[in-house]
């Protein structure tokens, strides 16, 4: 039902402060990223040129515009280092998201089938690790996975291996870290849709002769697709740009794009290339971002 005009006007005033804030600190900065991605590096402060100086007069600004170029983007496309970094980011994100779905779904499903009272407890239990620091959780895994760490000592004690296995600086360690960090983001949207589902639907399917696995595939899973979509996007998008986990847990021979960007920025001090890398990353993620935004808005409108 619409037509609740009375509340609309004060609510519109409420929008002013957050609107201004987000335009200033979220939207406008992208303009700067775009502008600097078209500039050249320079040994100066700030380390790029041209620098727009509005006080320098019209001709100077025109000259500054003329100095902008697409060179950085050409570099990104031609240099294998960057192309591989993008490809690796996408591969890692797809693999990790699939793993997350595979591991998260049974957990969410188990939660949704708990008695109502226990569902709330399980929900808190899943959220609490999310509150504890991201960095700390990665660090906890370094403790476990290092050369003389707990995992190797257990494996040795059980005589499953004869020599310590190298876990750190491998893709396995990275995937463990990613799954561990993003698991709540996968579980919560899945749980939300599964818990909302009418139990009578599954019962009706069983009543009509479907064995349990068919009940799951023909009724439960298709109905949980909105949750699957939300969970997948919520994990996939940030994993593509992930920096900390690959940096601490994966080897340094093949980098993800987040690491490349970090390296260009902090080590090489090449701000323009870093900006260009960010712009390309943004373009790659634009479709999933828009999809995610649409999903969120539809969910809001359902309420």
């Amino acid at each position: 039902m619409s037509g609740r005009r009375i509340f609309a006007r004060p609510a519109r005033f409420a929008a002013i402060a957050p609107y201004v804030w987000m335009v200033l600190f979220f939207l406008v900065p992208f303009g700067f990223v775009l502008k600097i991605s078209l500039s050249q590096t320079a040994i100066a402060q700030p380390p790029y040129e041209p620098v727009f100086d509005l006080t320098a007069g019209w001709t100077a600004i025109q000259a500054a515009f003329a100095a902008l170029s697409l060179d950085n983007f050409k570099l990104l496309v031609s240099d294998d280092l960057y192309v591989f970094a993008y490809l690796r980011s996408l591969t890692v994100a797809v693999t990790a998201t699939a793993l997350l779905l595979l591991i998260g779904y049974p957990i969410a499903y188990g939660m949704a089938r708990l008695p109502k009272r226990w569902q709330a407890v399980a929900m808190v239990l899943v959220i609490v690790p999310f509150w504890t620091s991201f960095l700390i959780r990665i660090y906890a895994w370094i403790n476990i996975l290092q050369h003389d760490g707990l995992l190797n000592r257990i494996l040795l004690a059980l005589h499953l291996v004869s020599r310590p296995v190298v876990w750190l600086s491998t893709d396995t360690a990275m995937y463990i870290g990613i799954v561990y960090s993003y698991l709540p983001f996968m579980i919560l949207p899945l749980y939300a849709t599964l818990a909302k589902m009418e139990p009578a639907l599954e019962e009706a399917a069983a009543d009509l002769g479907a064995p349990p696995w068919q009940v799951f595939w023909l009724v439960t899973f298709p109905l949980s697709l909105p949750g699957v979509g939300a969970g997948v996007l919520l994990c996939f998008i940030p994993i593509v740009g992930e920096f900390v986990i690959p940096d601490l847990l994966a080897g340094s021979n093949s980098l993800m794009i987040g690491q490349t960007l970090w390296l260009e920025f902090f080590t090489n001090k090449d701000w323009p290339v870093a900006s260009a890398a960010a712009i390309v990353l943004l373009v790659v993620l634009l479709a999933p971002l828009l999809l995610y935004e649409r999903l969120q808005r539809r969910q809001l409108e359902e309420q």
């Binding site: 609107y19 979220f26 700030p46 899943v126 940030p238 900390v244 809001l300």
Partner: protein
């Protein structure tokens, strides 16, 4: 009501394994923070040695202090602005640029932090702002207010709109209806939003690395640079302290929201 019998053995197993996976690493970390041995993985008996070491480490203490101040300041600003955003989204009808508005609020939730961090840094450089406490606070506010908005908005959305109408029907002007009925009912969500913003800020490495200046490192930046050099038992102790702090904040906040929801109107200042 669901019946317990709906729970299959597979469900129980996946729940138990999932929770063990989530909790064991943290538990191990906490236990090892009390390890007397210098070798991180050899158990040398219980000791508080690494906690003393941390309290003697001036750089770490300074970084912790910086992180706490940034977390409190940014969480507070983010809660204020994020709640306003939530109200605008769920109570305002279509206004100009509403799609852009909701897009700007949802995008940072999933936007890779390297992009957000880099773009904010370039803004601060262009504005010639001195980098330090305030730039990190603004950057964290920008990120965390979106989380606050989502948390508060989902509570507002599930709130029965006829409650506000009933308040108006009984003589409240719209703003008053919001203050005396809506606000008390969404207070738990606002508190939860603040907590979330606080912990996210305390946790953030990437955005802080971009937006801070020399000499004002936050705790995650310090931990990160230590961890890159290898595992140090002192880090276990710091991490345990951070976990303890967050646990205290969660308990306090849930107590506060329980109190506020059980308090009658006669006791409320409004």
């Amino acid at each position: 009501m669901r019946k317990v019998s709906r729970l299959s053995r597979f469900n129980v197993a996946s729940l138990a394994l999932g929770l063990a996976f989530l909790y064991l690493p943290i538990l191990i970390l906490v236990i090892y923070s009390f390890n007397a041995s210098r070798l991180v993985t050899v158990w040398g008996g219980w000791s508080l040695r690494w906690y003393y070491e941390f309290f003697d480490d001036r750089a770490m203490i300074e970084a912790s202090w910086m992180s706490l101040r940034v977390a409190v300041a940014s969480a507070t600003i983010a809660t204020l602005i994020g709640t306003l955003a939530a109200v605008a989204l769920s109570r305002g009808e279509r206004f100009r640029g509403r799609t852009l508005f909701s897009g700007m609020l949802y995008a940072p939730l999933v936007m890779p932090e390297v992009i957000t961090g880099l773009s904010l840094l370039l803004l601060f450089v262009a504005l010639n702002a001195e980098r330090g406490f305030w730039t990190v606070t603004i950057a964290h506010t920008t990120l965390t207010m979106c989380f606050v908005a989502v948390v508060v908005q989902s509570r507002l959305g599930s709130l029965d709109r006829s409650l506000e109408e009933a308040a108006m029907d009984l003589g409240c002007a719209p703003a008053r209806a919001f203050l005396s009925v809506t606000l008390p009912l969404i207070a738990p969500a606002i508190v939860a939003g603040w907590m979330l913003a606080f912990t996210l800020s305390l946790d953030d490495l990437v955005i802080a690395s971009f937006t801070t200046g020399p000499g004002s490192a936050t705790l995650p930046i310090r931990i990160y640079s230590e961890v890159r050099l290898g595992v140090k038992p002192e880090i276990n102790a710091i991490c345990t302290l951070v976990i303890a702090l967050i646990a205290v904040v969660i308990v306090l906040a849930s107590l506060a929201s329980k109190l506020s929801s059980s308090r009658g109107e006669s006791a409320a200042p409004l």
